[in-house]
Every structure is written in C-alpha cells, then in structure tokens.
C-alpha cells in the first residue's frame, strides 16, 4: 500500500527550524515504521536522522511520536496505525484523538521527535537530562548484607514484587508523554521513578533510605499527579503510575515510622 510519512525535520544548518517533509513510500501492512525509515535513508534521503539498533523493541533507541503518540518505530506496524486518528495533547493535559483532514486515498502518518528533550537533528533528541535523572536515583543495588559464596536467597514472591520494573529499556517514551513535564521541566520523570521502584522493592537492597534525596522532594515522586499518560505509552507495558503510587506509599510509611513528614512541598 502507499502511505506518506510526514516527518517533522530539523536539519537546517542556519535557521534550526522544524518543518514537515512528506515522504511517499510503498509498504506492506506488516512492515514496521522503522523499515520505512530505513528504506528512506538508504534509498531516498540519506540526511534523515534517527536512532535505531535492535529493530524489535528491546534496545530503546527509536522512541518517537507516531501520529502524535509516543511509540517505538520498530514496534509499530503500518497496519496498526493506518486507520488511526491522530493524537494531540494540549500542554499539561491528557492526549486525545482528533479528526484530521486525512481525506481520500491519502494515508498520512505523522512522525515527530519526542518532547521534553532538545532536538539534535530530525528525530534524534538529546537524552542527557533523561540519563542524569536516571543516575540521580542511584540505579544500582545497595546490598543489605554482604554476599556469601552462592546467590542471595530470594523467593519468587519477593522477586515478582520488582520484576516488572526491571523491564524498562530507557526509551524515554514516558518522559515525552508526561503532561507534568510540559509545565515542570524539573520533574525527575516517570522512567527514573521506575528504576527507583526496581531497587526499593528488591528484598536484597537497602531500599528507600539510600534514595531519599532524589525521591522525597517536590520534583521527585510528589510531582506526579496520576495522569497515567506514561503508563499508556510504555512499550514494555510497565504499570508506571502504579509503581510510583506504591513507592509514594512506602515513603509515607517510612517517614511516619520515624515521626517525620514527607517533603512534598505542600
């Protein structure tokens, strides 16, 4: 089938302005969006910039907005989106779908870079801030006790408590979709909180006490107001908002047990 990829490009050495450019391509319904991008760079326009590697949704390189929704280009097939209405989001609000003038036989699919991170070129964004926030939660194990010769014993029930959070591939889809970040760029963002939850909930780890600085502050856990946009876009199906709420609850309990109150800035 014939489709047009309408790609928001930013590749002007002087003006740095973003403009939409149309690329008509012939695709199979079962092709990935990434396949079409690859076709374009190798055969039509070598200047198109985007990141990719694994091509099956596990490396986190190619999160972008496809028809206005954050997704991995390698994990969306054309058949998934050709009939779809475009998503739009007013700043600070949830995304909704709108009718567009997608008339006649023309199938147009909009491709745009992630939000909340500065564009480097076309669909490439600068991830420095995103990774800094990741580091801020101390995303490594702080063991409760010294290991013995063999493994730490951990029951499957204990393992399941944090297993889901270990699936994150740091793709930043959630960081782009989060309405809070529209208005508060200092919010640490959903992904970093997922990584925090991964360790806080691990029976082998010292947990909250090590990560208070990043979590227990107005731009940490408490900035989240349960918009659920992150959860909806996560390509790894992580229930991000739920994990954030569980960590909030743990933290409130932790402070209460010490006779302290949380630092939510209120």
């Amino acid at each position: 089938m014939k489709v047009t990829l309408r790609i928001l490009r930013n590749n002007d050495s002087t003006s740095h302005e973003s403009v939409y450019k149309d690329y008509p391509v012939e695709v199979e319904p079962t092709d990935r969006i990434l396949d079409a991008l690859q076709y374009i760079t190798w055969n039509v326009d070598g200047t198109l910039g985007y990141r990719r590697s694994c091509a099956h949704g596990v490396c986190g390189s190619d999160a972008m907005r496809i028809n206005g929704r954050e997704r991995l280009a390698c994990k969306v097939l054309f058949q998934d989106v050709v009939d779809e209405k475009r998503w739009v989001r007013e700043p600070g609000k949830k995304a909704t779908q709108v009718d567009e003038e997608n008339t006649g036989d023309d199938i147009v699919i909009a491709i745009e870079p992630l939000m909340h991170l500065p564009v480097q070129r076309d669909l490439m964004v600068n991830q420095t801030k995103f990774f800094e926030n990741f580091r801020a939660v101390k995303p490594w194990i702080v063991p409760k006790e010294e290991p013995g010769e063999k493994e730490y014993v951990q029951s499957e029930e204990e393992h399941v408590l944090f297993d889901e959070a270990t699936k994150c591939i740091n793709c930043a889809a959630c960081y782009s979709a989060c309405p809070i970040l529209d208005e508060n760029p200092d919010f640490i963002g959903p992904s970093a909180l997922v990584h925090a939850a991964r360790f806080v909930r691990d029976s082998r780890d010292k947990g909250l006490s090590e990560r208070l600085e990043a979590l227990d502050q107005p731009n940490g856990l408490w900035a989240c107001t349960n918009q659920f946009e992150c959860t909806k876009v996560c390509p790894r199906d992580i229930k991000i908002t739920k994990l954030i709420n569980l960590t909030k609850r743990e933290l409130t309990k932790y402070r209460a047990s010490r006779g302290e109150s949380v630092n939510d800035g209120k």
Binding site: N43, D45, C59, W140, V153, K167
Partner: protein, 590 residues
C-alpha cells in the same frame, strides 16, 4: 549546525591506560575489571544500554546444579561436542569452570534472576545441555524470564555508573593504531560533531559484537556490522573460523526476530506442515533440544522436501513452533517477551497458536583470534596491547557451532579475564607512541565518500540488499562449491564498487549516514572473508554444511582457519591447531 568542512580533521587527542571499544556485556565487564586500577575509557558507537547484549533472551549457562545435578566438566564437554570438536578444549574448560562464579557474581551485583521454589537462581533446559556426557537433558540455563541479556546489560551498566567508569558514547571507532605488532590506540568518529579523535592507549580491547547484518534474514541489530573484526582485518590481523556462522532455527518467519530456544527448553515442539514432530527423525534422544546447526538443517530439509507450512518446497517456506500445550501461566511467566513479539509482529498469541519460524542468521562463531587472556594472536605470536572479547572474538569456545547460553558466559568469563590481564599489562607497558598522521587513513576514507558525491557511483542501499541476498542464498545453512564461488565473486566486486560510493549528507553534526556507509564497508570486507574461508574448507562441520562434502573430515580439517585479506581484497588462508588436550573427537550424535 556547521556545514561539512571538506575534510574532517582531528579535534582531540585523549590518552588512557586502557580503551575498551564497545559497551555491551563483554566491554562493560572488562571495563569494570580494568578500571579498578587502570585509567580506562569505554568508547561505544551506541549508548551502552542500547547494545545487543540486551536482546539476549533465553539464558546464561552455568553448572549451578540448582535443580538437576550438574558439573562444570559436563558443561565443558557439551561445549566441545556442540562445537563439533573445533573448540579449544582448555578454553572450554575455563569457560565452564568460571561460569559458576560469574553467575553468582552477576547475582550479587543485583541481577534479577527468576527463582526456584527454594529461592535459588532458576535454571531451564537448552539445546545440547546434557548430564553425564550426553545421557539426558539437564537444566543449566540460568535466566531472568526471557530477557536475561537485558538484565545482564542493565546490571553491568548500573555497576559501571556506580564505579564512575568513563564513557565516550556515540563515538564510532573507525581505525586502529598499530606500531608493528603493538597497538597504541584507536581513531573514533564522534557522531555529535563529525570530528575524528585519537585515543592513545597502552591497551585496546575490541568488544564490538557480531556481524549478522551481512545476511538478509537475521536476528541481529542494525548495529551488528562487525566493525572490530573488519578494522583489524584491514590492519593485517588474520580472522579465525569465519566460515562458521550460526543460523538459529527459530526466527520469526521473514523478519528473523529471534524466538528463544528457551521456548523449546520449556517444552515447545517443532512441527512440519503435516503436523509431524520431525526432530524424531533427526535427533532421537535430544529431539527439539538438539544443537542449533542440526535443527536448522532439519528444518531446511523438511522445507525443501515440500513438508513446510506452505508445502511448496521453496526456501522461504517455514515450519511451526508449537507451545500451545504449555498453558497460559507458563508462557506468561517464562516467556513473556516472546508472547509480546508474537502479538506485535504476527498478531498471534502463542498460548493459542503455533509460531511460524525459519532459520535466522544469528551468531558469529568466528572472529578476532585470541588466547584465554583475551590477547589477540596470529598464527605466530600474540600482539601487545591488543585484546578482544565477546562475539567479535574467537577464543575459540564455540568451535563450529555455539551452544545456546554460551555467548553470555563467554562475555562475562572472557570479558573479565581480558579486563584483568589488561590491568596487569598496563602497569609495565610503556607510554603509547602515536604519530601525528595516525588518523590520516581514516580521514581519507571519509573524505572520499564526500568527494564521490554527484559522480554517479555505486548505490549503497542497493549494494546492502545485494550483499544480504548473495550471502543468505549462497553461504547459508547449506553451501556448495558453486554457490560459495558466486558469493565470493559478488562480494569482491562489491568491495571494488564501494570505492565509488557517496553519501548525500554534507553536514558534520549528527551525520549518521557516513557512519552507516563505513559499516557497510565493514560488512563487505567480512563477507569476502566469510565466503573465502567457507569455500576453502572442504568438509562439513557444525554450522558449515556442504552438499558437495557432506562429512566431517578430521584427518584433513580438524584445524582452525586463519584468513587474511590484502588491500585488493584477495584472501590467503593459513591454519592454527585445535587444542584437543581433554577429549578425543568422536562422531556427533544426539
């Protein structure tokens, strides 16, 4: 954004004790080890977290014996036999012995393994893993659901940031600096600026992963372009056993995305178009858990005999991998990502329907020859200050066919060994000497691509396709004299043609196109070496199956290929003996 300056020039000269090229499992582990005492940098073309180690699914093998009785010795034997006796046996012994400690170490560093009822690391069956030297299948594959590699990569990266390892991300190494047989650094292209930098180092380690992108159907990442081996081959280092490339039996039909052997480890069954469990014919004891080369051949044989799913006897037909009898709970708990892939790419749920699969180019057994300390060697001597580990290296622990779960072990065991050897070596090595024009050759290669613009040279997109097709068709699961000759001449012609290729992108910053073109050049060079090595070996062994020489021939061919390429792309072949110090070669039946 600055326009292209005509010729890229050198911006920076960095100096380290050790430079690790690659931030996947092997590179990160080596960096953790080396950085304990040496000034170390990891230079990686991808953000480390994007490395292909993250794609590994099924497991990491170690004889923990958490469920079934197991011994490192059995693991080593399975490795040797699985590799059709082309494995260096002492290296396999080290691999199996050190695997146990390596897995505990990963767990201590936080790796979230799945657990047994007793709270120990869970283990499952995998192809060719047996107890008592082939008696019965054994549960040896330690796993974190079906994202074991993702968890290894995350855990090692976490440890690296905890330990303040220095990273140069999105720096693509394009050349190596050699002073005779001593390595003194690398040249890297920085994506963000388009500048070339010199990294001087007392020791350099390559850990750049595989090169399956030379084949049309592959489980490998776009970044799997064999940069390390190609750079070293051009610098005169011979490449070992390039003819042995593993085709994994179960890739998603036509896309090549991997369906882990763990599915069969949990009880999944292969069926042909008639619904028959055909592995009963080919491997009566291990059945669907026979080694990969055997199962891939069985699938192709079934397909060509008209017993594929479509039944038309065409090579792109497929067979079924049936896991429906495992039940929803096992699938959701043990192979959740596979379920997700099936839903995303095939619109089916493995709980309800069988998966359409065909062999997919998966793993490079061959590559940069090293000793058991990760030092790069040729047929005569070891190079100084030059190391390699992981998929790009050939120790050789995988021989003619790698066993599932042994690559992840290889990364950890040999990544660590190389890292600690480097830490020792740099203590007494002299400061690296690098001439002012060290980056000249790389600069010229890049300049040529810019200068060719508008001259109507070769079309790289079309060449990429042509390479993948000829390699898939002619150096695939089955090969013969005629097909390999064709592939070799195709690849050599493409090598010629590459000198006329140009890019469209004139800018310096974030010019990913230039890098893709250099990657294509690497693949073409390795394609030449692969086809030439394959054509030369007149026997069938492991993954190298010739229709015209269907049998293994230990008398003439129980030796490693060492293939060197000159400037013109012609290949000369030499050999290296196989270490047979423990087990005597036997026919390989399962």
């Amino acid at each position: 954004m600055r326009p292209h300056r005509g010729t890229t020039f050198i911006e920076m000269i960095y100096e380290f004790d050790a430079v690790i090229v690659g931030g996947g499992g092997a590179g990160l582990y080596a960096a953790l080890e080396a950085s304990k005492s040496a000034k170390t940098a990891v230079v990686s073309k991808l953000y480390p977290m994007r490395s292909h180690t993250g794609a590994a699914q099924g497991g990491i093998g170690a004889a923990l014996g958490n469920i079934d009785e197991d011994k490192p010795e059995w693991h080593a034997f399975d490795t040797v036999k699985g590799g059709d006796y082309l494995v260096d046996q002492n290296a396999a012994k080290i691999l199996a012995d050190e695997a146990v400690k390596a897995v505990y170490d990963l767990e201590h560093r936080g790796l979230p393994f799945s657990r047994t009822d007793k709270g120990l690391i869970s283990q499952r069956r995998f192809g060719g893993h047996t107890s008592e030297f082939g008696k019965a299948a054994v549960r040896r594959a330690c796993h974190a659901a079906d994202r074991t590699g993702h968890m290894i990569l995350q855990t090692l990266y976490q440890q690296c940031i905890k330990n303040d390892v220095e990273f140069y991300n999105e720096f693509q190494v394009v050349d190596v600096i050699m002073n005779g047989t001593t390595c003194t650094g690398v040249i890297a292209f920085e994506l963000a600026t388009g500048e070339l930098h010199i990294f001087k180092a007392k020791a350099v380690m390559f850990a750049t992963g595989g090169f399956g992108r030379m084949f049309r159907i592959t489980s490998n990442a776009h970044a799997y372009t064999g940069d390390g081996p190609a750079i070293l081959a051009r610098a005169g280092v011979p490449m070992e056993d390039m003819e042995f490339f593993q085709f994994h039996p179960t890739g998603i039909r036509s896309m090549g995305i991997l369906i882990t052997e763990g599915v069969r480890g949990e009880g999944g069954i292969l069926k042909n178009g008639k619904g028959e469990r055909f592995m009963e014919e080919y491997a009566p004891t291990l059945l669907d858990l026979a080694p990969r080369d055997m199962i891939s051949r069985a699938i192709v044989t079934e397909i060509l005999a008209g017993r594929g799913a479509r039944g038309d006897g065409k090579i792109d037909d497929y067979v079924w991998l049936d896991a429906t009898h495992l039940g929803r709970e096992t699938i959701e708990k043990k192979i959740p990502d596979i379920q997700d892939f099936c839903k995303t790419y095939l619109a089916i749920d493995p709980v309800e329907s069988a998966m359409p699969v065909q062999p997919t180019a998966h793993y490079a057994m061959g590559g940069i020859p090293t000793d058991v300390d990760g030092r790069v060697v040729n047929t005569k001597e070891a190079y100084s200050g030059l190391y390699a580990a992981g998929e790009c290296a050939c120790v050789s622990v995988h021989g003619a066919n790698r066993l599932g779960t042994n690559s992840l072990v290889d990364l950890i065991v040999y990544g660590r060994r190389a890292g600690s050897h480097i830490a020792e070596y740099v203590k007494s090595a002299s400061a690296p000497v690098v001439s002012d024009d060290a980056a000249e050759a790389a600069r010229e290669r890049i300049a040529r691509i810019h200068e060719n613009r508008g001259k109507g040279g070769g079309n790289p997109g079309e060449m990429y396709k042509r390479m993948q097709e000829t390699m898939m068709k002619n150096v695939g699961v089955y090969r013969d004299e005629e097909s390999m000759k064709l592939a070799l001449s195709d690849m050599q012609a493409m090598r010629e043609e590459f000198s006329t290729v140009s890019g469209q992108d004139e800018t310096a910053d974030f010019n990913a196109e230039i890098l893709s073109l250099l990657e294509l050049e690497n693949l073409i060079d390795l394609g030449v070496l692969t086809a030439a090595s394959a054509l030369n070996r007149k026997e069938s062994r492991g993954a190298h199956s010739r229709r015209d020489y269907p049998d293994r021939n230990d008398d003439d061919w129980l030796k490693h290929t060492m293939a060197s390429m000159d400037d013109k792309g012609s290949v000369t072949i030499d050999y290296k003996p196989v270490d047979l110090s423990i087990w005597e070669p036997k026919p390989r039946v399962y």
